[in-house]
């Protein structure tokens, strides 16, 4: 894994750790396009 993707991974972890939207035990970030019809 090179610099750019490593930086993306770390930034995504940071966002997900901080963004809770007030829910409990939940995916707080935008994962709503993670489905196959």
């Amino acid at each position: 894994m090179k610099d750019n993707l490593m930086m993306v991974v770390l930034s995504r972890i940071k966002v997900k750790t901080e963004d809770t939207l007030g829910h409990e035990n939940h995916p707080p970030w935008d994962n709503s396009d993670d489905h196959v019809p």
Binding site: L5, V9, L21, N25, D30, N31, S32, H35
Partner: protein
């Protein structure tokens, strides 16, 4: 556990006839009534959640029509809950008006497209076995012309060449893509051994490209889980947790997942029971307890658990025996090797990041800093 994403099947119909489609045999050839859509939105609002994600789904949801979408948003705006809308579409029906509407209303767009022309046209033909590739690309361009950068999901068949696929997907102008194996009895469905190999080849190309503007959600999700030591849940199918989702069919029936719509997974029907009661029902609790128990077993003795967190319930059900877990072990071990190698090399200062699981750094020390990517 809160449901935070509601997958609303506004149509039980599609203008494509994908060879592997699990929903097609059950299509009722009709769309959701506006009364039902209104009822569902009001029921979601009654849960008292501040924010929810509302995924317009089908079949092909755009068959619901632009006026139907506009009506849904009117109802959403009349209630207290805040809705973040997204749509999962085959893109063939996206015209200028739909694209304008999605842009104006901040929709997230997921496009289902299986790759380059030869594969897309066999995997996902229009009705009458007509090619769909050009129409899908035209729809994606409509979005891009409005400044919307969609994400994609590709179902992989035994026809899909990994290099040709990556060449295509990396030049499509999307923000992310996810991979999924064709899982039906269709003649071109892919076996999991071949699918693991496919993933390995695409992963190598993706890592080599090293573009911050093209995320593979499968591999990125595994990397996030491994690095953080916690469940980052990038894909529902690879987070081990099903409890954040609920699917509502055009009939009002509520299920855990768009792929788990057999009667044994039925939690209730919003025309007969309030959604709040359905989500607190013994049926749902039993389902979630079963998922949790399976994940607990996975956590005890499987090296892939740190990455997959128990995986996808549908896949566990579909692939009998250990083949699904073997696939997860194959793919996640490759990702872990890349991650550890990157830590060893201190890529992007990763070894000094407080976001990295300290246990992972301990493992790195214990093994003498010897990790070889791809082994």
């Amino acid at each position: 556990m809160d449901v935070t994403t509601f997958i609303i099947k506004v149509t039980s119909n599609c203008n494509l006839e994908c060879g592997y489609c699990f929903a097609r045999p059950m299509f009722k050839k009709r769309i959701m009534t506006r009364e039902m859509l209104q009822r569902i939105i009001l029921e979601i609002d009654s849960l008292g959640l501040e924010n929810v994600r509302f995924l317009w789904h089908g079949g092909e949801p755009l068959l619901f029509g632009l006026e139907g979408f506009k009506y849904g948003l009117e109802v959403q705006r009349s209630v207290a809950t805040s809705f973040h809308n997204s749509v999962q579409t085959n893109a063939t029906l996206i015209d200028n008006d739909f694209a304008d509407f999605f842009k104006a209303n901040n929709f997230s767009i997921g496009v289902s497209i299986d790759g380059y022309e030869e594969v897309q046209n066999v995997n996902r033909p229009m009705w009458g076995n007509k090619p769909s590739f050009n129409r899908a690309i035209r729809g994606i361009r409509q979005l891009q012309d409005k400044g919307i950068i969609p994400s994609c999901i590709s179902v992989i068949s035994d026809l899909t060449d990994p290099n040709q696929y990556f060449e295509f997907i990396s030049k499509l102008g999307i923000r992310s893509f996810a991979l999924k194996p064709a899982t039906s009895s269709w003649k071109h469905s892919i076996d999991l051994t071949s699918y693991s190999e496919f993933c390995g080849k695409v992963m190598a190309r993706w890592l080599d490209l090293d573009s911050p503007d093209l995320i593979c959600r499968n591999f990125m999700g595994y990397a996030e889980n491994i690095l953080s030591g916690s469940n980052m849940m990038s894909l529902c199918s690879e987070s081990g947790l099903c409890g954040n989702f609920a699917v509502v069919e055009i009939t009002g029936e509520v299920f855990p997942c768009d792929e788990l719509t057999d009667s044994k997974y039925l939690w209730g029907n919003v025309t007969k029971t309030p959604l709040k009661v359905i989500l607190n029902s013994s049926e749902r609790r039993k389902f979630l307890n079963k998922v949790e128990a399976r994940n607990g077993e996975c956590a005890k003795d499987c090296e892939a658990y740190i990455a997959c967190r128990g995986g996808c319930t549908f896949c566990h059900e579909f692939y009998k025996g250990s083949s699904y877990c073997e696939h997860l072990k194959n793919v996640t071990s490759e990702v872990k090797s890349y991650v550890l190698q990157s830590l060893q090399d201190n890529v992007a200062g990763s070894r000094d990041s407080e976001l990295v699981d300290p246990k992972l750094l301990d493992d790195l020390e214990d093994t003498g800093n010897c990790f070889c990517a791809g082994t």
